[in-house]
Structure formats: structure tokens, C-alpha cells
């Protein structure tokens, strides 16, 4: 089996009296696409918040490539290459699509303040490289026609794409995607699946939260199912699809179609 890059060890989260996660324990291997699914309110986004430092777990520990993430700030975790997207659309609304991606490239533009201000050759070269990379990413998500429009003026689905481009710009070694295809139709989703496979083939590990079952079933190496903050099943797509507990809690009868 692939080497473990992310491990979630006995993580628990409580909001007041409400148990949002309890004894969450699973791992993701290098280069895998693992999906985290479960009913609304099962705790998937909460798990993402814990992994990326937006929320401190009540119990347990998260490790990424050997480093313990507990107590790190979100930007420090991002610096380790663990990058997330958000379930709600999240862009820099008053910047152009192109500038959004440029801001996302922040991690690559690290150079000295003096260099940047004086516009020394290295700073210029870095700036040029970032602009090229940004243009490439904008092209890749198919929004080149909108590159100079403010991100806040895009339609819902277009803003979701910008969110993904921003995350890619941050040069992830692992991507956590929270419902990336919500708001896309079947054909758009289809294209997006190619995109995800492509990203994985470039060596990026992916943890996916998504309610689009056809997509999850086709793209995942492994699926972890949560219900009320606990893991109720884990395994290959085939196993999950036919698991009675999963059908009962989550898939519903229409699942046969998936």
C-alpha cells in the first residue's frame, strides 16, 4: 500500500454539547484519491477544519507527512503543502480572476522585501514567472475569457472554479476539496473529474468531500463514510455502494442508479 501522508488519529470535536466528530481515525496514502462522504451535518467540513488548522480538535491528533498539525495556524499548514477549498464559494471578490490566482500563488513568490520593492532582477523574474503560471491556471480552468473580470461578478459555478484554481495556485502536495462540483452539471462534472485525475497524476494526493455519487464512485480509490461524526464504513467504492448501513443513512433508494 502507498505510504501514508495524512493520518487522522482519534479526533473528536464538540460544539457545546453537540458531538460533531467522535473518534475519527483514518489515513490517506500518497497519490490516492480518498473520498469522505456522509449525510448532511455528519462532520465532513468539521474534519476539514480540523485538518487545516481552522478548528482545534477536542481530542486526537492530525499528522501530515510526519509533522503534527495540532496547534499550527492555517497558513503554517498551507505552507506544508496541505491546501483546502471551501464549501461556500470563496474568492477575493474585488480582484480580477487573474489577480485572484496571483494572490493564490503567494507561496511561490517568497522573496526579500527589498528585492521586491526595488524590482531587482530576481524579483522581476519571479513576478514574470508567477504571471505566466497564473495565466496558465486560468486557462486550465477554462476562464481565460473572464480573466480580467472581477471574481465577484462571476456566476456561482464560475466562482467555484476560481476557488479550485486558487487552491492549485498554492502548489499543494495534498488537496482537500469540499464539494468541488456542487453547482456544476453532469458534463461540467465530467470535465472536472478529468481535471482531478490529472492533478493526481502530477503527484498530488486528494481528499474529496462530495455528494455527487456518480463522481465519487468513479474517481475514488477508497471511501470513508461518516454518520453523526463517526465512521460507519470504509473501503473500495464497490463495497460502499452495497453497504446496507450506508444506503440506509445516506444513499437512499435511488443509489442503484449511481
Amino acid at each position: 500500500m502507498a505510504e501514508t501522508v495524512l493520518s487522522i488519529e482519534h479526533v473528536g470535536v464538540q460544539f457545546g454539547g453537540l458531538v460533531a466528530l467522535s473518534d475519527l481515525d483514518f489515513t490517506v496514502g500518497e497519490g490516492q484519491i480518498v473520498s469522505l462522504i456522509g449525510p448532511n451535518g455528519a462532520g465532513k467540513t468539521t474534519a476539514f477544519n480540523v485538518m487545516t488548522g481552522f478548528l482545534d480538535p477536542t481530542e486526537g491528533m492530525v499528522k501530515y507527512r510526519g509533522a503534527v498539525l495540532n496547534g499550527l495556524k492555517p497558513h503554517e499548514i498551507a505552507d506544508l503543502g496541505l491546501i483546502r477549498t471551501f464549501q461556500r464559494t470563496s474568492v477575493f471578490p474585488r480582484d480580477t480572476v487573474f489577480d485572484n490566482v496571483l494572490i493564490g500563488l503567494h507561496r511561490q513568490g517568497k522573496l526579500g522585501l527589498v528585492e521586491a520593492i526595488l524590482g531587482l532582477p530576481r524579483a522581476r523574474a519571479s513576478e514574470r514567472a508567477q504571471r505566466e503560471r497564473a495565466a496558465e491556471l486560468v486557462r486550465w480552468i477554462g476562464l481565460e475569457a473572464r480573466a480580467n473580470d472581477l471574481a465577484g461578478s462571476l456566476s456561482y459555478g464560475e466562482q467555484r472554479l476560481v476557488g479550485v484554481a486558487l487552491a492549485l495556485a498554492a502548489q499543494p502536495s495534498m488537496l482537500l476539496l469540499d464539494e468541488p462540483v456542487s453547482g456544476m452539471n453532469a458534463s461540467e462534472t465530467h470535465t472536472f473529474v478529468q481535471l482531478i485525475r490529472n492533478i493526481r497524476d502530477r503527484g498530488v494526493t486528494i481528499l474529496l468531500v462530495e455528494h455527487d455519487m456518480p463522481m465519487v464512485m468513479s474517481v475514488s480509490d477508497r471511501i470513508v463514510v461518516l454518520n453523526y461524526g463517526r465512521i460507519i464504513a470504509a473501503g473500495a467504492p464497490e463495497t460502499i455502494r452495497n453497504d446496507p448501513a450506508v444506503i440506509e443513512a445516506y444513499l437512499g433508494q435511488g443509489a442503484k442508479r449511481a
Binding site: G41, T89, L161, G183
Partner: protein, 234 residues
Amino acid sequence: MLEIRDMVCAYGQVTALKGVTLSVKAGQLVALIGANGAGKSTTLRAISGLVPPRSGSMIFEGEDITGASPQRVLTRGIAHCPEGRRVFPHMTVAENLDMGAYLRSDTSAIATDRDRIYGEFPRLADRKKQAAGTLSGGEQQMLAIGRALMSRPRLVMFDEPSLGLAPNIVERTFAIIRAIRDAGTTVLLVEQNAFAALEMCDHAYLLEAGRVVLSGAGADLIENEHVRRAYLGG
């Protein structure tokens, strides 16, 4: 019931709708499908008065509502459940539902409706006292749907109601939408799950780049080669 003619809408210099003509008959479930950025949400916003049309006309039950204020559209009986889980984040679930019934005064009927929504979405019943802003994405979406229904509209417009909902809840939501149509409420549905939308609608319009390019019975659109390729993924 609703007749829209040559409606043109723009945001600044960008023309989002370039002459949309469509009609919704009373008691029908009409679906509006199209790609990202086609103008579906803009069409709904124009109807509910959130984006003033540049030209064209909208007639609702014989009354001209072109350029009418959102308040007026709402009092005429049109409810809009916008895309992207809009809730009042600092109010509780129960208060959010009550906001949907703001224009109603029939207190006991409101209570019945509220209980019915809790019955349909038990998750919301569990979270009655929780601030809506701390709900999960899907829980917020259920709340937004519930709130639109609380105004007892005669025409209800849903913008991507299945967004972020678990598959079993999507099924239930579509069942609710069919049920309210069967109970006599007219529905205008924007949905990315084009297959489901076409399957359950009485009539459908396909929007591309701000124009209606195809319309007909749902079953006909499902069979259409172009629709299959571009929207149904195969």
C-alpha cells in the same frame, strides 16, 4: 401565469440576458437548465425584482410586474429561494423559518407549516435553536428551501435546490417539489442536476449565453442529442 417576453438584463456593461422569452403555466413545474454563467440565476433575479430588466416585459397573472420592486413581487405571491444557501446567519433555525412567513398573519397555519417542514427535514428539527450560520452546508440549504415554502407562494422559484444535499435528501427535496406542484403551486426550477429536473418537469427551457435555445417537454429534451452531450454528461 407568468409570461416573459424578450427580457434583456445587464450587470454594468455585461449583458447577461439577451432576450429571454418564456412562459410558465399555472400548476406547472417548469425547469430552466443551462451551463455555468448561462443566465439562469439572472432570470430568476429579474423575475423577483432584484435585477431590473433593460427591456422586455413580465406579466404575472395579467399584471405587469416589469421592473417591480422585490416587495411587490413577493406580495403578488412569488417566492425566490436563491442559490448558495442564503440564511440569516445570526438567527436560529426557527427564526429563519418564521422570517419566511413574515407577510402572513395566520398564526396557527404558520405553526402547521413549520411543523411540516420539520417533518420533511428532521435534521432541522434537531437544530431548531442553533444559529443558522453554524449549520453545515446542507443543513443551511434545507433551511433555505423550508423558508421559501413558508410564505405559501403561488409561484415558487428554486435556484439549484439540490446544491450540497446528500443523495437521499436530494430525493426527498425533489419529492417535496413534485408534491407542492401536485398541490397546485407553480414551480420554476433551476437545477444543475439536469437529468432529474428534466425527468420531473412539465416543460423545460434550455438557456445558453443569455438566450433560450431550446424548449419543450422534459422527455423531449432528454432525448435531444445536444442536451445529452452538453448537460447530461454522455
